[in-house]
């Protein structure tokens, strides 16, 4: 049987702070590398190649329907994009949608997670009911909400016109903020269950013993929530925020269906789609997709580093 304990001789040669792996660990590591190699090769083929191709294309003026006009333009496409107000407007829209939807989903999702965690009666039915929106295709959900907010046949105006800020003739897709509200409402409705699922996983990791101990010590429900539950599920919360933030930053379907970008409701993904697919500007569109990818990387880095998310502990490995 091989040992996992380093020998004294090895320890003597090892600089302070450096952990020396045992023979078994090294062998297991090598085996792991061999086992994962096929997956890595496939991933490189299916993800790295398109990414490198996009990076390459972004340096060209290249329109699909006029291939003879293709020419190397260096970083000019990036210059045009970064100096264009449309890019920054769309980025701002995307950030607003991301921040607002994730914040609201976090609160509602936590409430749903508590319900799913604590409910004693009809637990299966309740959990299913909460999760149904997440099972609906986003495009279908977007159409449903577009009809709901429609000035002609939607129910929102007729049901809620008693509210002072909603008139029976409210055109929800007629101006920027109303259209943004409708888009965010549909996004929140659709993805809050996902948030609640992630938070439910975190809630189930909170020890009942700790909660009972806090209760015995006289802690109120609010104190137990803020002093015991939330600190103990911080990793799960941060993972939920990370996943949803990255997802929300790439919002596309709802906007395409509900406004098609009208009323200045376009997102970064939609702008990229329009350049690459609709206008067939492969060069400019590729530059946008590279920038979108970098933005996603930056958001992931910020959330992981600033909030010190430990993905391993969120999976219960910590």
């Amino acid at each position: 049987m091989s040992t996992t304990v380093a020998t004294p001789a090895q320890s003597a040669k090892t600089p302070p702070g450096k952990v020396v792996a045992s023979d078994r660990a090294v062998a297991e590591n090598r085996l792991g590398q061999k086992l994962v190699a096929p997956a890595v090769v496939i991933m490189v083929l299916v993800t790295a190649y398109p990414m490198l191709q996009a990076l390459y294309l972004s340096l060209f003026r290249y329109r699909l329907t006029t291939p003879e006009d293709k020419g190397f333009v260096g970083l000019s496409n990036y210059g045009v994009i970064l100096g264009d107000s449309l890019f920054w407007k769309d980025t701002l829209n995307t950030v607003i949608i991301m921040v607002v939807t994730v914040a609201i989903e976090l609160v509602i999702g936590f409430a749903f997670a508590m319900v799913m965690h604590r409910i004693m009666i009809a637990r299966g039915l309740m959990r299913t009911a909460i999760l149904i929106p997440y099972g609906i295709v986003t495009v279908v959900s977007a159409f449903a909400w577009q009809f709901a907010f429609s000035i002609n046949n939607g129910f929102v105006n007729s049901w809620f016109h008693w509210l002072p800020w909603i008139s029976p003739q409210q055109n929800w897709f007629g101006d920027h903020w109303h259209a943004m509200f409708a888009i965010m409402a549909s996004e929140i409705w659709k993805t809050t269950p996902f948030m609640s699922l992630l938070l439910l996983a975190g809630l189930s990791q909170v020890s009942e013993d700790m909660l009972e101990a806090a209760q015995v010590d006289g802690a109120t429900w609010t104190q137990r929530l803020y002093k015991v539950i939330l600190p103990n599920m911080k990793a799960a919360i941060m993972v939920a925020v990370l996943f949803r933030a990255l997802d929300a930053f790439r919002i596309f379907d709802n906007i395409v269906i509900m406004t098609a970008g009208a009323q200045n409701t376009e997102s970064s993904s939609f702008l990229t789609y329009r350049q690459v697919i609709q206008q067939m500007q492969l060069g400019m569109g590729s530059a946008l997709s590279v920038l979108l990818f970098l933005a996603v990387l930056v958001i992931a880095f910020l959330i992981v580093k600033l909030f010190r998310v430990d993905l391993a502990s969120a999976r219960g490995e910590g």
């Binding site: 055109n171 007629g174 098609a260 609709q278």
Partner: protein, 438 residues
């Protein structure tokens, strides 16, 4: 008892032997299937022509069946339905054609991207001998089918917009609809009498169709020399452009505007027109069939020439429709043109109009018996007069960019002012020069 056979290098299990037989069998089956497929594809069977069509109520599929039967086994036409939206049709076809997809033979092509496809050499120009066999199309239809002096698609059906109105409302408002009316007149009449004017002002191609008609109706053009591609002269910032902006501004800020003006399209204006507030709408030829089952609205339905932008200057109604293009990647070009002759025959144009409400592109098509009995004569005359006077959108290979730039600067209609044409012109030029994102 079965004993495994020992072979060189080890055991050869029955499983391995069986799998070898299966592999050999699979290759044999594949070879047979490939032979059969090649026979179907063009070796010995009837050649199949694939026709990519825009969605309709079955009119083009019916024509495909009739032409297949009429070919006496020379070819068989199969249809493939494209997306509903013209922009999506363009994207799907262009991506396939750019990739050299040889499965496309015939295409139903919208005028909005005819020039782009012709400039990219995705379509084969109509040969002279074929052109002489096609029915004589209306002037507007030929203009919309021509790129660089060559007819690149065969005109199939020609859509045109007219002014539709409620007779009772026009009478109440005291408008003489037997004479040409202006946009200002109908907006004022509707506004003063509690009515609405239905237009297409969502952020989409239909809105640019309206703007183009307004500009051409004022004697101008959105683009001069559209054949120059990115170097074309943009003429939005002209007196005609300002006249067009003035009409849009007036409607958007009047009581005659429908509440959903900023998201309105051909479909959304139908229902309000049938209500007591319904007064006027500009829309395509299919409207008559749409109200056929609503007798009250149909009996009160009137039609007139598209409104004038400037009083005294004849209007230039919007032109739409479909031309049939032959793909440059097709392997059956000769048969394709025979199929085009059949598809665009006067009888098929006429029957298609009866089936779908989309009118013929030729006077011969309008003579089709069932069509003349299905529509009032005055309406058919108006359609033909309108097509002759129609103002097609500029035939530029960069039309999608120009159209998108116009949509960005003129939408929503409520934001249009006298300064819109100037800002729009600058933006379009910057987009074409690659200096601005669209």
């Amino acid at each position: 008892m079965h004993v495994p056979r020992r072979s060189r290098g080890g055991y050869s299990s029955p499983g391995r032997s069986g799998s070898r037989r299966r592999v050999v069998g699979s290759f044999a089956a594949l070879a047979t299937a490939a032979g059969l497929l090649s026979a179907c594809g063009g070796g010995g069977g009837t050649p199949t022509l694939i026709w990519y069509i825009n969605p309709d109520t079955g009119g083009q599929a019916a024509i495909a069946s009739r032409c297949t039967a009429a070919s006496n086994g020379a070819y068989k036409i199969e249809t493939q339905v494209l997306p509903q939206d013209a922009g999506q049709q363009r994207v799907q076809l262009a991506r396939r054609l750019a990739a050299g997809d040889s499965s496309i033979d015939l295409m139903s092509i919208d005028p909005a991207f005819t020039a782009e496809f012709a400039a990219a050499k995705y379509v084969v120009p109509v040969p002279d001998d074929v052109k002489s066999k096609l029915p004589q199309a209306f002037k507007g239809a030929i203009t919309a089918s021509t790129w660089d002096g060559k007819e690149v698609v065969a005109p199939f059906w020609s859509n045109v917009q007219t002014l539709w109105y409620r007779k009772s409302f026009a009478q109440k408002a005291g408008l003489d609809m037997s004479q040409p009316v202006t946009w200002d007149q109908i907006i004022k009449a509707a506004s003063d009498n509690g009515g609405t004017v239905g237009v297409q002002a969502n952020k989409y191609e239909g809105y640019v169709v309206w703007i183009n008609a307004l500009v051409m109706g004022a004697g101008g053009n959105l683009v001069t020399d559209p054949g120059a591609g990115v170097d074309a002269k943009i003429d939005v910032n002209s007196q005609a452009g300002k006249d067009a902006a003035s009409v849009i501004d007036a409607l958007a800020h009047s009581k005659a505007a429908e509440p959903d003006l900023s998201v309105s399209n051909e479909g959304t204006v139908l229902a309000p027109f049938a209500t007591p507030q319904g007064a006027f709408q500009v829309n395509w030829t299919f409207i008559y069939q749409n109200y056929a089952s609503d007798k009250a609205t149909l009996n009160d339905l009137g039609w007139a020439m598209y409104p004038e932008t400037v009083q005294g200057t004849p209007s230039r109604p919007p032109y739409g429709g479909i031309g049939i293009g032959v793909s440059s990647t097709s392997k059956h070009t000769d048969l394709d043109w025979k199929a085009v002759e059949c598809i665009t025959s006067p009888d098929n144009q006429g029957q298609y109009a009866v089936d779908t409400g989309n009118m013929p592109s030729s006077a011969a098509g309008y003579s089709y018996g069932k069509l003349t009995s299905a529509y009032p004569a005055s309406l058919l005359q108006l359609f033909q007069k309108s097509v002759e006077a129609a103002g097609p959108r500029p035939l530029s290979p960069y039309w999608s960019d120009i159209s998108g730039a116009i949509q960005s600067t003129w939408h929503p209609a409520g934001s249009v002012s006298s300064s819109t044409p100037a800002s729009s012109q600058t933006f379009i030029q910057q987009v074409l020069e690659g200096k601005k994102l669209l």
